[in-house]
Symmetry: C2
Subunit: 197 residues, 2 copies
């Protein structure tokens, strides 16, 4: 490589980000260097700011800049409903849809025998605690439709017992989805949950 | 979005990088925040360093950290041959192959009537000057096999006249390339340049 060691090091760091590889990291770094005044410096500054301020919400596991995240701290969100998600990215996806007005709980992953992830590696004890103390009437288990996601949902439902209503997201054909592109499991689920017209 | 404004701003900046979109930017930023101590801070520091030191070589247009880039400054590189590329990314690709031991000249793009890019928007005058003053015996026009790339190569070849040998990269089937996946132009070029076995 003809570039200096720092530029090479920067490319290597960028290449390790999810969604980037060596080629896109090189392109991104070249782009940033060309516009170093208006892009690279401000990006570095913003990263430094976020590195110094971002942290996990002590209550729900969402990312914010204080002990309590914006959602936990908000007085505008409805109490009584907790939407349980695997990851902050899933919380963001729910928020983009704008349909849920309650509170969240971010597990930080799923149970996995293979990876030795048990309930205490996730925020499951804290969830049980919240349900017991926050006057929760419904727990929406919005976990991914994967085996680990569904195993985790069933484990949590069992742990919560009968004291609270437990629901999960409907499964079926996504809006605009073409049957030909869907996996068998989705089609099976959609057929089983078919509705009368 | 539930994340704070700084995190949103960081995602927005990352999403504008080539090769990234909103979704991969969100994933990258979450990953960086989770490992903010060992990833985000060092990445921000390295970006700041590169922003402060990276610049274009005054001679060839390559990116380095001094007035002359590593290649122009090196005493190990052969004089007499200049490889002309469109972009620093192309120079890096040539260097990864390790096959060229001479000097480079980075044009900074291609001529384009549509985008009003003329010779003076590129480093073409500087190239003509270098060929006249650096005892150059061969100019390898390693431009992309696009219409603009080839137009630019022909323009430069004309400008250089007969005083120097001008060559271009061979066109043909890439190593490991399957005919079925190649465009017609490549197959045509490969057939015309066919060799006796
Ligand atoms: Zn929270
Ligand atoms: Zn140079």
């Amino acid at each position: 490589m003809s570039s200096t060691r720092d530029i090479d090091a920067l490319i290597e760091m960028m290449a390790k980000l999810p969604g980037l590889g060596p080629r896109s990291a090189r392109r991104a770094v070249l782009h940033l260097i060309r516009k170093r005044g208006i892009l690279l410096s401000p990006l570095a500054d913003m990263m430094q700011t976020v590195a110094a301020t971002a942290r996990e919400c002590l209550n729900c596991g969402n990312i914010g800049t204080a002990d309590l995240c914006d959602i936990c701290a908000s007085e505008k969100r409805a109490n009584g409903e907790i939407c349980v998600v695997e990851d902050v990215a899933d919380l963001w996806a729910m928020e983009r849809s704008g349909v849920f007005k309650g509170r969240y709980h971010v597990l930080g992953g799923t149970l996995s025998a293979l990876d030795a992830v048990g309930p205490h590696e996730l925020r499951i004890p804290r969830l049980i605690d919240r349900v017991a103390t926050e006057n929760i009437t419904e727990v929406i288990l919005a976990l991914n439709a994967t085996i680990d996601g569904q195993t985790t949902a069933h484990y949590i439902a069992d742990e919560l017992g009968a004291r609270v209503k437990k629901t999960s997201l409907a499964q079926g054909v996504p809006i605009g989805g073409e049957l030909d592109y869907l996996d068998d499991g989705t089609i099976t689920a959609a057929l089983r949950a078919r509705k009368a017209l």
